[in-house]
């Protein structure tokens, strides 16, 4: 189809379309009047109103008029450009004219929805239509640029979200780089014994996926590594990954643990991170038996060699494969990828922030994650539930909503705690026969099989007290409270205050955004909600996209969620990344800035201002130049340039003045 270019000598022939949007617009705006008014404006050849311009017949109307009346400019007065600008540009293009010979006037969000008076709404609509008509004559024909897409994908974070996304992408033939900052992948799920609501063994379903990641020919796995830098744009990201020294050569280590046994520390002496300090490890250690990769590491903060330089290095001597290397340094690796999946997960709420519950003060108070380790068959007690003093608890209180639904900590509901509290109640009861008391505000079990799981727990005789526990203390009123921790709460369904003595308190801590979410957000140029969760592009219609094209979200980094939702989202993120890469190219919006090099004085003001680093300084010519592929069309440089050399397509000074003149001509 031939498209009309600029300066063709043709007179400007404009078609104007006023949309009713059902009664959304027509209920407030006299559309017939506005149409009549539009017809009277200079350059307007046809003006029509129609019930739904975005419908097929509405679009067809535009195309037909282009053919029959030789229109070369289109104005639609309807809703917000965010909603349908793309629709009408496409209609114009299919009608045979350049899609940018189009202007939209927003008479719904800006007029009919926010104006009470019908006459005033009609007047304002006239003014906006006059402005659009005045400006569209000066529009230039623009072309969208196409840029080829790099075929590889980066996945950041190796929890269940990152693992699932990486495997899905790799199975489709993509080359995937998986970067995990801990020494092993697996994330939080690797710490659980069972998962709700089916109680399947977490290890049985997760470990196979972890080893698949390790073996997959299309996946490069870097654990103990972090993304140090990201530049570029959708389809063309350059990424620097920093691999931290583990003082063990990964390719040589087979995970035989000979070094760990040989270490001069005969017993574990240092708090073991994977078990939240419930067990002790040596300076050289394997994070946990199923760690992937199955490679040990040395912690320089506790290793005698690093601390004193005087160790006899028994580990090094014990390693038959000569894998220990005390001289390892940070290593930087550069990769080029077309898409990025961010799957950095959550951090548990710090229970010490709620002093009423005595965490860190009474040894009988545990966090839910610590109890996950206690019930785990490969955990520090081999799955036996024993207290720090060795006793088996006879009564256990589980306090929900710790660090959730609370104005002083986190206002939101963490979504998974009710369900995991039920799971822990079941597991602890099964192993110890203890009386279990759940203190909850509202029991939230929306999910397939979740309410049924709650039913099962009710049947098992677990106690449910609807009331947020007020305090955990060790002062006693009655003989049976002696030596116990006492939970004081109002049983709101009964309407009485109760004191319940227990041996063990489990704090169901909420999910929080990672402490470094702010830095990660800046690294990938994505947004955060004020709680720190990464922001999706649209909560309903673009739940895994971000405001930066080519960067996708998976799992709990986007908000609290359980494993089924995490995996579903990871699959979706992988599919979005594939769709981008398989298309092979990206089209860039032409509303980019450009520099009139004649006018540019080389002051570099714009370079510092550009939030996307899209402007560079051309030293020979002593002028600034915009990289159209990087420019997002924000207009910052245009406003900043002292010489008016920076301009923007679709928003040139002339076009804006035309628009203002249109409004003024009406007034």
């Amino acid at each position: 189809m031939a498209t009309l270019g600029p300066n063709q000598g043709d007179a400007v022939r404009i078609g104007v379309y006023i949309c009713h949007c059902g009664i959304n617009i027509a209920g407030k705006v006299d559309v017939a009047d506005v149409t009549q008014f539009a017809a009277s404006l200079p350059g307007v050849v046809v003006a029509r109103d129609y019930k739904f311009m975005c419908s097929d017949p509405g679009q067809e109307l535009i195309q037909q008029d282009i053919r029959e009346h030789g229109l070369n400019r289109i104005v639609v007065a309807s809703c917000s450009p965010l909603m349908h600008e793309a629709t009408f540009r496409r209609a114009a293009a299919e009608g045979g004219i350049n899609p940018f010979f189009f202007q939209m006037a927003n008479i719904r969000e800006h007029v009919s929805w926010v104006t009470a008076d019908k006459a005033a709404a009609t007047e304002k609509s006239r003014a906006l239509v006059a402005a659009a008509v005045s400006r569209v004559g000066g529009h230039e024909a623009l072309e969208r640029q196409r840029v080829a897409v790099k075929p590889d994908v980066l996945v950041v974070g190796g929890g269940i979200a990152g693992i699932h996304a990486a495997l899905t992408l790799a199975d489709s033939g993509k080359t995937v780089y998986l970067v995990e900052r801990e020494p092993t992948i697996g994330g939080h799920m690797a710490k659980f014994d069972k998962t709700f609501p089916t109680l399947d063994c977490a290890a049985c379903i997760l470990t196979p996926k972890m080893s698949l990641v390790r073996q997959h020919p299309n996946i490069t796995l870097w654990t103990y590594a972090e993304v140090a830098d990201v530049s570029g744009y959708v389809g063309n990201f350059s990424v620097t990954v920093r691999r931290k020294p583990r003082y063990v050569i990964e390719d040589r280590c087979v995970g035989c643990n000979a070094c760990v046994e040989a270490c001069v520390f005969k017993e574990g002496k240092f708090a073991d991170e994977f078990n939240y300090g419930l067990a002790k490890r040596k300076p050289v250690y394997m994070p946990f038996p199923q760690a992937t990769p199955s490679v040990v590491l040395i912690d320089p903060a506790t290793c005698l060699h690093f601390k004193t330089g005087k160790c006899k290095q028994a580990c090094k001597a014990a390693c038959e494969r000569d894998a220990i290397d005390f001289d390892q340094r940070d290593e930087l690796v550069e990769i080029e990828v077309g898409a990025i999946v961010v799957a950095t997960g959550f951090q548990p709420f710090d229970a010490e922030r709620v002093p009423e519950y005595g965490y860190g003060q009474y040894p009988g108070v545990y966090t839910s994650l610590e109890v996950e380790r206690l019930v785990n068959a490969s955990g520090p007690t081999g799955g036996e539930i024993t207290l720090r003093d060795g006793r088996v608890p006879k009564a256990v209180g589980i306090i929900h909503c710790v660090g959730s639904r609370d104005h002083a900590t986190n206002k939101y509901c963490s979504r998974v705690c009710c369900m995991y509290s039920l799971k822990l109640a079941h597991l602890v009861k099964e192993r110890t026969g203890a009386e279990i008391y759940n203190f909850y505000i509202d029991m939230r079990t929306p999910g397939k099989g979740y309410e049924e799981f709650y039913d099962k727990l009710l049947e098992e005789g677990v106690h449910f007290i609807r009331g947020r526990a007020a305090e955990v203390t060790d002062w006693t009123m009655t003989p049976d409270e002696e030596g116990k921790l006492v939970i004081r709460a109002e049983d709101t369904l009964i309407g009485a205050v109760r004191r319940i003595p227990v041996d063990m308190v489990v704090l169901s801590v909420g999910l929080e955004a990672q402490a470094d979410a702010g830095e990660v957000r800046r690294l990938f140029n994505i947004s955060c909600s004020h709680e720190g969760w990464f922001l999706e592009r649209h909560p309903k219609l673009a739940p895994v996209s971000t405001f930066t094209d080519g960067v996708f979200l998976a799992g709990a980094c986007q908000g609290p969620k359980d494993i089924p939702d995490t995996v579903a989202q990871a699959g979706a993120a992988a599919a979005e990344a594939m769709a981008l890469i398989d298309k092979g190219y990206v089209e860039l919006e032409p509303n980019t800035a450009f520099i009139d090099e004649e006018r540019c004085s080389g002051c570099k003001t714009c370079i510092a201002m550009c939030p996307y680093s899209a402007i560079s300084f051309i030293a020979d010519a002593r002028v600034a130049r915009v990289n159209e592929a990087l420019c997002k069309g924000c207009g910052t440089c245009v406003a900043a340039c002292p010489s008016a050399a920076a301009q923007q397509h679709l928003f040139t000074d002339d076009q804006i003045f035309d628009e203002i003149a249109g409004v003024l001509s009406y007034v």
């Binding site: 609370d406 947020r468 007020a470 004081r488 109002e490 709101t492 309407g495 205050v497």
Partner: protein, 206 residues
């Protein structure tokens, strides 16, 4: 109810006061009242709740629903010791202690508090005393309170009163501020001005 009639537990909407919640929220400067999720932390944290006929949580719920008569009659609002344990613990930042104050003010204003229940009497006597002298005089205050509520209880306090007197911890001298009527800092002038500045109708100062 005595002669075999069953007590009626149903509440008809017509029994409730639809404006009560808003009035109390306004006088407690606390719209957060409407944010209460009925978690019961307040009742759990309150040291006096075991003695209350309605827990603080129920007071909030019933206030919100318009159970004006029941709430103003309840012992809870007079048992509240104003210790703020509930207020600092509430996850929804409801200022329960201030709601209790608003309810006490309302009960005194409407005259619906339990008549021989000494707390409102103490509050009113204290209020009058301070208004007159600018100081709280503990002995006359206590005597008045016992006279108005339960004179026999006063006899029970006599031993303690004597000991306080003997250790110099309670005196017969009337304490009062120096500023006299019309002088700089005079309390009556100030309080009259507060009354003049009160919102036209039904504000907390009547």
């Amino acid at each position: 109810m005595s002669d075999g009639q069953m007590p009626r537990k149903i509440t008809y909407e017509a029994d409730l006061d639809p404006h009560f919640a808003e009035e109390i929220a306004a006088s407690a400067r606390g719209e957060q009242l409407f944010q209460c999720i009925q978690c019961g932390t307040c009742g759990g944290a309150c040291p006096v709740s075991p003695y209350m006929d309605l827990t603080p949580r129920r007071i909030i719920a019933m206030t919100r629903a318009g159970y004006k008569a029941e709430v103003l009659k309840s012992h809870t609002i007079w048992l509240c010791a104003s210790c703020y344990a509930c207020t600092v613990a509430c996850p929804k930042a409801v200022r329960i202690t201030d709601v209790m104050y608003a309810l006490k003010q309302r009960a005194i204003r409407d005259g619906v508090y339990p008549k021989r229940f000494p707390v409102p009497v103490l509050a009113r006597e204290f209020f009058q005393g301070v208004l007159t002298t600018g100081r709280n005089n503990e002995l006359p205050l206590l005597i008045k309170m016992y006279l108005k509520t339960n004179i026999f209880k006063m006899l029970g306090q006599a031993v303690m009163g004597l000991r306080l007197f003997l250790t110099g911890r309670i005196g017969l001298k009337q304490e009062r501020i120096a500023a006299r009527r019309g002088e700089k800092g005079d309390l009556r002038t100030i309080m009259a001005a507060v009354d003049r500045g009160a919102p036209a109708k039904g504000g907390p100062s009547q």
